[in-house]
């Protein structure tokens, strides 16, 4: 499992940029992110190479944020890869609250960030089915 930051943001021009700037200045590398928005506000999810530092940097700037535990599954970048992963979870009635994908640089693997309910069980199911999960502190 890995730690993802979720930051509350108002939707105004420049908001996103102020966050990427703060992290860049602190030397934090953003490995992946996704933005869910409702119109007036949204939640920015960030996977950072150093989540604790990223958390501190944003906290000091008085952002409203939380740390959430997510699973990052590494799958082969081929047709059907994602489908198999999702089927594995749905067959056990495990809901996915949020998910997004990142294609890794070499182009032959993809990382899927999964925010799921029933954590320990989800992790066990994925491992049983031979899905490779990123361990704690392990970098993408």
């Amino acid at each position: 499992m890995s730690v993802q930051l979720a930051v509350f943001l108002e939707n105004h021009p420049g908001k996103l940029e102020s966050i990427t700037k703060a992290l860049a200045e602190a030397g934090v590398n953003i490995r992946g992110f996704s933005m869910a928005s409702e119109g007036e506000y949204g939640v920015l999810k960030i996977l950072a190479d150093d989540p604790e530092k990223a958390y501190r940097v944003l906290k000091e700037r008085h952002y409203t944020l939380s740390r959430r535990t997510v699973e990052i599954a590494l799958i082969d970048d081929r047709p059907g890869g994602l489908h198999e992963l999702l089927t594995t979870l749905s067959s056990r009635q495990i809901n996915i609250e949020d998910c997004y994908g990142i294609t890794l640089e070499e182009g032959c693997r993809a990382a899927i960030v999964l925010d799921v309910e029933r954590f320990p069980e989800a992790e066990a199911v994925l491992r049983e089915n031979g899905v490779r999960l990123l361990g704690e502190g392990e970098q993408l």
């Binding site: 993802q4 930051l5 979720a6 930051v7 509350f8 943001l9 108002e10 869910a36 928005s37 409702e38 007036e40 506000y41 949204g42 939640v43 999810k45 906290k59 000091e60 008085h62 952002y63 409203t64 944020l65 939380s66 740390r67 959430r68 609250e97 949020d98």
Partner: protein, 432 residues
């Protein structure tokens, strides 16, 4: 537990006789001022036969005070005046209030009485975070605390990190602080790695100078691990020290050996039966430089029925609900900002800060409430935010009878104030 046992616990009938004597002496002094020399010209030399007869006398309002600037209300030789305070006015003449040496001594004594009743003693360390200067909040408590014999740190408001440094390194046990600033200051503890309940020695806070809800008081008590006491005053009477909570935190004892209270209907000016809510009107009983007769405070409250178990016989007023001029009329519905605060603070996912804006949209009043999130509860999903927004709308609608527009905002979108927090912006302009 009493600073002045015989005065604080004086039997009611005796207290009322005492008040009548003081009121007549106060009227006689007041008549030496140009304003009351005219306004009370027809008052018989023998004075009033009963306190109730005060009802026959005209009110004094803020507009008269302004019109009387600078010396229209001065009732002593200017040489006897040792200090001037002024209330925050943004338009027209300021209202100035003069004090003789005797007035200052009485005021100090009242603050000492208030502080003592909540358990402050000589061994305490008092950090006064209220503004000094023309504003009476800081200076009033400063001298009162010294009168009590407490080491007083006259730090004033602002510079939050330094405040916390003093709290920590001087072992401060008592603070005097604006409720909004107490909440703002709390935001600095996480980054400084300080747990106020564990790392500080605070035990008592005096909060006042702006209306606040019971929920805000409880929040302050919880964050700092102390007891917070509500204080009430206004510069026209002296400043803080007019009414004060005792250990029971159930209403504020209004010091009736110094002030005589009445509650009136703010629209008709009619005296209301005891226990009903209306505007507080005060008559000073001991002030020398500038006695005020039936002064309309603009503050809305009621007198609580029955005696207080603490043994003090001076009647209690309820926490100030707002000012008669704070009332917002939204599409014909009357409401007070404090109702909004009370509702917001009861929702755990809502943060400490908020802002109210009223504007005209297509000839209708629109009430907009901006709220920040409580970080401790924020899980990081969009769904919870949508749910929260809907809940805030529903609960405000139930409380106010008006449907508000609720916006979730980042903390940086709300003004941060280290003075009195301004939380209401009426942007309707003119007569709308």
């Amino acid at each position: 537990m009493y600073w002045e046992l015989s005065l604080e616990t004086m039997e009611r009938r005796e207290l009322e006789r005492h008040q009548l004597r003081l009121a007549n002496a106060s009227l006689a002094r007041a008549r030496r001022s140009p304003h009351y020399g005219q306004a009370l010209a027809r008052l018989p030399e023998t004075g009033l036969a009963s306190l109730r007869a005060l009802e026959e006398l005209p009110f004094t309002g803020k507009s008269e005070l302004r019109a009387g600037f600078p010396y229209g209300f001065l009732a002593v030789d200017p040489e006897e005046v040792v200090r001037l305070h002024s209330s925050s006015g943004t338009t027209g003449n300021p209202t100035v209030v003069y004090h003789t040496r005797g007035d200052i001594a009485d005021w100090e004594n009242l603050i000492a009485r208030c502080m003592y009743s909540t358990g402050v003693r000589k061994k305490d360390v008092f950090q006064n975070m209220m503004g000094y200067g023309l504003f009476t909040g800081g200076i009033g408590f400063h001298y009162g605390a010294e009168r009590l014999g407490v080491m007083t740190i006259p730090i004033g408001p602002g510079n939050s990190k330094r405040q916390i440094w003093f709290l920590q390194h001087l072992g401060t046990t008592v603070i005097h602080i604006l409720p909004s600033y107490a909440l703002h200051l709390a935001g600095y503890f996480p980054e400084l790695g300080i747990d106020p309940r564990r790392d500080l020695k605070l035990r008592i806070a005096f909060i006042g100078a702006e209306p606040h809800s019971e929920a805000i008081r409880r929040k302050i008590e919880e964050i700092y691990g102390l007891k917070a006491y509500n204080s009430y005053g206004l510069s026209e009477m002296c400043g803080p020290g007019v009414a004060f909570e005792c250990l029971l935190q159930n209403g504020l004892h209004l010091w009736e050996d110094h002030f005589y209270p009445e509650i009136i209907d703010p629209l008709s000016g009619r005296l209301l039966p005891e226990g009903e809510e209306g505007e507080l009107v005060l008559t000073t009983l001991k002030r020398e430089a500038m006695p005020l007769i039936r002064y309309r405070t603009g503050d809305l409250t009621r007198i609580l029925p029955g005696p207080c178990p603490c043994g003090r016989t001076h009647r209690r007023i309820e926490r100030i609900k707002g000012r008669s001029d704070d009332m917002l009329i939204i599409n014909g519905v009357n409401l007070f900002p404090i109702q909004i605060e009370k509702t917001l603070m009861a929702i755990p996912a809502v943060g400490r800060n908020y802002l109210i804006e009223v504007r005209k949209v297509d000839h209708m009043d629109r009430l907009e409430v901006k709220v920040e999130l409580n970080e401790d509860v924020f899980r990081g999903t969009l769904a919870e935010l949508e749910k929260l927004q809907a809940r805030v709308v529903a609960e405000l609608r139930a409380e106010l009878g008006v449907s508000p527009v609720v916006k979730l905002v980042e903390p940086s979108s709300l003004p941060v104030s280290e003075g009195k927090a301004r939380r209401v912006y009426d942007l309707r302009g003119g007569l709308g």
